[in-house]
């Protein structure tokens, strides 16, 4: 892919990642100044859910880049991996900030109780925490400083983030709701591709190394 192609790809990715935020800003602005009901009767709940949904979508998108390369052999998805991951982190921070600043309005007591007592909040919090080291080490400088091997190992933490995010969604969804299963299925597929690839590589490597004690012919 040429320089021009890469630029177009990046611009497109930025636009996609910023669109949900722009839409939210637009709705909030209209609700505040024009008193429209774009945010529904419970705006805080709407905003929290919107940010949470997009956190998970972008997290899944970032987790989809490596499988795209594995399955189709494309190189370009890797150009977007960091961008998508950092946007997922941004949405996660906003999602969490709304919970602290707007929903509970610094009611630390109740929030602490929620984190301890409500498993879906506990795992949601943990999911956010796992993203912090990944965001901090996302720069090219940090990759160099850590060395590719250690950096790669550290960034496998994102698989745990995915699982925690899935639990967060599964446990908060009320009886009768079903969209959470779609997210979980996508996550399972994306992690599944990696497992298959890892197993294949293991088999290939085993095949190359000569067997220490060849089976004796009958």
């Amino acid at each position: 892919m040429g320089r021009r192609g890469r630029l177009v790809l990046k611009i497109f990715a930025w636009a996609v990642c910023l669109a949900p935020l722009a839409a939210l800003a637009w709705w909030i602005g209209r609700a505040l100044w024009l008193h429209t009901d774009d945010l529904g009767a419970n705006p805080i709940s709407f905003i929290t859910n919107h940010l949470g949904d997009w956190t998970f979508r972008l997290l899944l998108a970032s987790l989809a880049m490596t499988p795209l390369r594995i399955v189709f052999g494309w190189g370009w998805p890797l150009l977007l991996r960091r961008l998508l991951g950092l946007f997922a982190f941004t949405y996660a921070v906003l999602h969490f900030s709304v919970w602290i600043l707007v929903d509970h309005f610094f009611n630390w007591g109740q929030m602490a109780e929620d984190v301890v007592k409500r498993p879906y909040i506990t795992v949601g919090m943990l999911a956010l925490l796992t993203l912090i080291p990944l965001a901090l080490t996302s720069t090219t400088g940090m990759i160099k400083r850590l060395g590719a091997r250690r950096w790669t190992r550290l960034h496998r933490l994102v698989y745990l983030t995915g699982v925690l995010a899935a639990l967060h969604f599964l446990w908060l969804a009320k009886v009768g709701r079903t969209d959470q299963y779609i997210y979980v299925a996508v996550l399972a597929a994306l992690l599944g591709v990696r497992v298959v690839e890892w197993a294949r590589r293991l088999v290939r490597r085993a095949g190359k190394i000569p067997h220490p004690r060849p089976a004796t012919p009958p």
Binding site: G40, E113, R118, L172, V175, G176
Partner: protein, 318 residues
């Protein structure tokens, strides 16, 4: 020649113009054609959405708060028969046909009776009561309901001495209630929706058989044509679109108890000290307000209802 010019019919007997213009749809509307011959047309037809319903306010039992915006109360609903999302009921509400409609009051009673809905609405004097509706999801609304005490109907059918509980059943019809269609993933609630109260709770003067709100007939998404409102319990206890009220001797198994017994108990009294596994019940957000406010014991109705539960462990009987 003297021509008599007395009124041959009363204004109330003239078919409403809207109904006249939609007469084919009306007749096609299943069963209505038969009903035509038997009763007066205006009575057999569902009142149009937003039709006025007058009732004097009962200030003695009304909270002194500004009611939630009508638009919020009709667009932010939990009514799973129409779908699980908050905006599903408003969108799907048009599917529900509220006439003809009957409510059977039966079971352990001396005089079982099946009320036609229009008969029921006229059977007792209507009053307006402004109650706080507290959802188990930690939000609340202030709603001016119109109805009469459920106890009035129950007394009319004369419960026997064996009657200890009252069971409410919502209409079962997946055509009118698309949420009752079996889902791809299964699960969800078991239909029809069943709710229940202890007989003394059902007879409590605050328990309202409700046919309207905000000076209008009850909108479909809020449980038309008739629902109950039990203001000291979480919203899901207040069964909607009721077709049967049965007096029984055993505690009914309610829809939410069946679906998630560890989350929803039979009593489900509003209680800030007993949290739901997923929501603290200590605070709530009043729809239309920014800050959460503390939740009150029995939703603020402790003075009137706490005595019903003396000696009952409310942590165990959540």
């Amino acid at each position: 020649m003297l021509i008599r010019r007395t009124e041959r019919f009363k204004a109330s007997e003239i078919t409403d113009e809207k109904l006249y213009l939609n007469r084919r749809e009306f007749i096609a509307g299943g069963g209505a054609a038969l009903a035509l011959a038997a009763c007066d047309v205006a009575d057999g037809a569902a009142p149009p959405a937003g039709a006025p319903l007058k009732a004097a306010r009962n200030d003695g039992v009304s909270v002194k708060e500004v009611p939630t915006k009508l638009e919020s109360a009709t667009t932010y609903n939990n009514f799973y028969e129409f779908g699980v999302n908050k905006d599903d009921p408003a969108r799907e509400a048009h599917r529900l046909k509220t006439r003809p409609w009957t409510v059977a009051v039966e079971g352990l009673v001396h005089k079982p009776k099946t009320y036609d809905i229009d008969e029921l609405i006229r059977a007792f004097p209507l009053e307006e009561r402004v109650y706080v509706l507290r959802c188990v999801e930690a939000w609340s609304m202030v709603i001016p309901w119109i109805g009469f005490p459920l106890g009035a109907v129950l007394k009319q059918v004369e419960p026997t001495s064996q009657a200890k509980f009252v069971e409410f059943t919502t209409l079962l019809d997946p055509v009118q209630f698309p949420g009752q269609k079996p889902g791809f993933f299964g699960g969800g609630l078991e239909w029809p929706y069943v709710e229940g109260l202890r007989l003394d709770e059902a007879l409590h003067p605050l328990t309202l058989l409700t046919v309207g709100m905000y000076g209008q007939v009850l909108p479909n998404q809020n449980g038309a044509p008739v629902r109950i409102v039990v203001p000291w319990k979480y919203g899901f206890k207040s069964a909607k679109s009721i077709v049967r009220i049965r007096l029984v001797s055993e505690q009914p198994k309610t829809a939410w108890e069946k679906a998630a017994p560890q989350e929803y108990g039979f009593y489900s009294n509003v209680n800030p000290t007993v949290s739901h596994p997923r929501w603290s019940q200590a605070t709530e957000r009043r729809i239309g307000e920014f800050r959460r406010r503390p939740t009150l014991m029995f939703n603020g109705y402790a003075d009137q209802v706490a005595s019903l539960y003396s000696g009952l462990d409310l942590k165990k009987h959540y």
